[in-house]
């Protein structure tokens, strides 16, 4: 059964130095507040896994939490570069960042394999791309039935997954809806998990198309309203597109980023929802 705890407690219990961590949410429901708590608790040497590193990993990378990034698209959606990610890859600041790079289809299938208890997944992908020779978790495989050459990708099984959802009930059953990304797969492929939620309700009302995670499949639930900001939780909050645009200027400059980190994450009270960017 999931334990309902504070965000600080959930992160303290679930995330350890050196862990492989997946914080998922495909544009929607990105667990920013939990990411900031990981920074505040000073976790180090993390291998960060995410299809789209987005601002959340730009912030963790810039804060020096990561030694490695496993990803498939590292940009600021509709805006441009993730400058902290680029600074780490291009100049090793604040520390060198090892990368393991895939496509979205490959990453999604790696989570599916991990959630399914399989060592790899198979797909039509990567053929002819430069990724095959750079990434050792991509290998050609021959179909035993047709003889066709396909691509195998290694399963992902993180130590912990963190996601944000709209609701949990008092027993820790979780429900999320809207763009559901790979969150179910991330939770089911990981040893431990944290779910932050907008609201804790007496009972979950079934919704068509929603993803329901039973309490016994989740480790910790924390009540964190607006915990996806500047991403969003459909039905509760809107995506803060202005924040994504404003981030570009902050992240371009090491000093501006460091000031932002100190003012908005390190010195912000753990219980406080992440506020406006400026």
């Amino acid at each position: 059964m999931a334990e309902i705890v504070s965000l600080a407690e959930a992160v303290r219990l679930a995330i350890r130095d050196g862990d492989t961590i997946a914080m998922e949410g495909f544009t929607h429901l990105i667990p920013f507040a939990a990411g900031h708590e990981v920074i505040r608790q000073g976790r180090r040497d993390l291998t960060l896994v995410r299809m789209t590193p987005d601002l959340i990993y730009d912030q963790l990378i810039g804060a020096g939490c990561a030694k490695k990034l496993i990803f498939s698209w590292g940009g600021n959606p509709g805006v441009g570069s993730l400058h902290r990610f680029r600074d780490a890859v291009e100049h090793g600041w604040p520390r060198p960042l090892e990368i393991e790079e895939h496509s979205h289809a490959g990453m999604a299938n790696r989570y599916v394999a991990g959630a399914s208890g399989l060592p790899f997944a198979v797909l039509r992908g990567y053929a002819g791309t430069g990724l095959v020779e750079q990434t050792d978790t991509i290998k050609p495989v021959t179909c035993p039935f047709t003889g066709e050459t396909l691509m195998a990708v290694k399963a992902l099984n993180p130590n912990a997954a963190i996601i944000h959802a709209q609701q949990a009930d008092r027993d820790g059953n979780v429900q999320l809806w809207g763009i559901a990304g790979v969150q179910k797969e991330a939770i089911l492929s990981s040893e431990r998990s944290v779910v932050t939620v907008e609201e804790i309700v007496d009972s979950l009302e079934p919704r068509p198309g929603a993803v329901v995670l039973p309490s016994w499949a989740v480790s910790y639930v924390a009540h964190v309203p607006n915990g996806a900001h500047p991403s969003y939780a459909m039905g509760y909050t809107e995506r803060d597109n202005d924040y994504y645009v404003a981030w570009d200027k902050i992240a371009r400059d090491r000093e501006a980023f460091t000031r932002w980190l100190e003012g908005h994450v390190l010195n912000a009270a753990g219980a406080k929802a992440p506020g406006a960017i400026a």
Partner: protein, 253 residues
């Protein structure tokens, strides 16, 4: 140009030309940025039944303003179906259900191979680290056809890309078949100067349509390979007042 003809920018001409390349009723896998603007313009003008599919798992999205990201709320709220990400790639894209993939590029070469990974240096020590692959490699492989939209300059239009993120025609005719890529590959590269299409024999992209007022010399200057321009390239009609109004209505929101 007469007093009544609407004035427009090169980017607007490019977006309008890209919208015209889509036919009504097609299923279209849409990248963010220019592809999203063009496909929404098509839906607002001549192709009201165009099915827009975004990699966030939104099928049949009908946004009334341009989304900033591929996962904006407006896409999920207006979609016919919202499905998980493994499903969009496996059941819908990989299985060959999508007519056209609409991609951007940082670099593209004469065989239509796309680079969105690194520029300069080597993979471990790139001069410029780009965002990477996203959904593009499998969109380029599995959609029945691909359209690329990218502004034309010698840094983007190169003889050979620094890294193949998404395969066009590889290094020669026949490569797609050898690699097992099921879609037909890129059929058009639409730029701010005109439209390139692949030579049916060599697979090399050549300029077959030119936008109004663009000199052939400009096209040569802004292409990093010795580009072939068709003997009698088609002259593309300028944007109509209706196309411009629809595009600006989207952009203005």
């Amino acid at each position: 140009m007469s007093d009544t003809a609407p004035t427009y920018t090169a980017d607007e001409m490019m977006t309008v030309a890209a919208a015209r390349a889509l036919t009504d009723g097609m299923t279209c896998f849409v990248g963010i940025g220019l592809p999203s603007a063009a496909s929404n313009l098509a839906r607002a003008t001549h192709a009201p039944n165009l099915v827009l599919i975004y990699e966030s798992g939104t099928i049949g999205a009908k946004p009334d303003r341009l989304p900033l990201s591929i996962g904006d709320g407006i896409l999920a709220e207006t979609a016919d179906a919202v499905i998980a990400v493994p499903e969009i790639f496996n059941y819908w894209l990989q299985a060959g259900r999508i007519d056209v993939g609409f991609l951007g590029a940082a670099q593209i070469d004469k065989y239509g191979n796309i680079n969105t990974t690194i520029v300069g240096g080597d993979y471990a020590h790139p001069k410029t680290r780009l965002p990477g692959a996203g959904g593009a490699p499998e969109i380029a492989a599995s959609c029945k056809q691909v359209i690329v939209i990218v502004r034309q300059n010698p840094r983007a239009f190169v003889e050979k890309v620094d890294f193949i993120t998404s395969v066009g025609y590889g290094s020669c005719p026949g490569d797609r078949e050898r690699l097992g890529l099921r879609g037909a590959g890129p059929q058009k590269i639409i730029t701010d100067l005109g439209i390139l299409t692949p030579d049916p024999v060599s697979c090399e992209f050549t300029v077959t349509s030119i936008f109004p007022g663009v000199a052939q010399e400009t096209i040569r200057e802004r292409t990093g390979w010795d580009v072939v321009i068709a003997q009698e390239p088609k002259l593309v009609a300028p944007p109509t007042a209706a196309e411009l109004a629809a595009l600006r209505r989207y952009k203005g929101k």
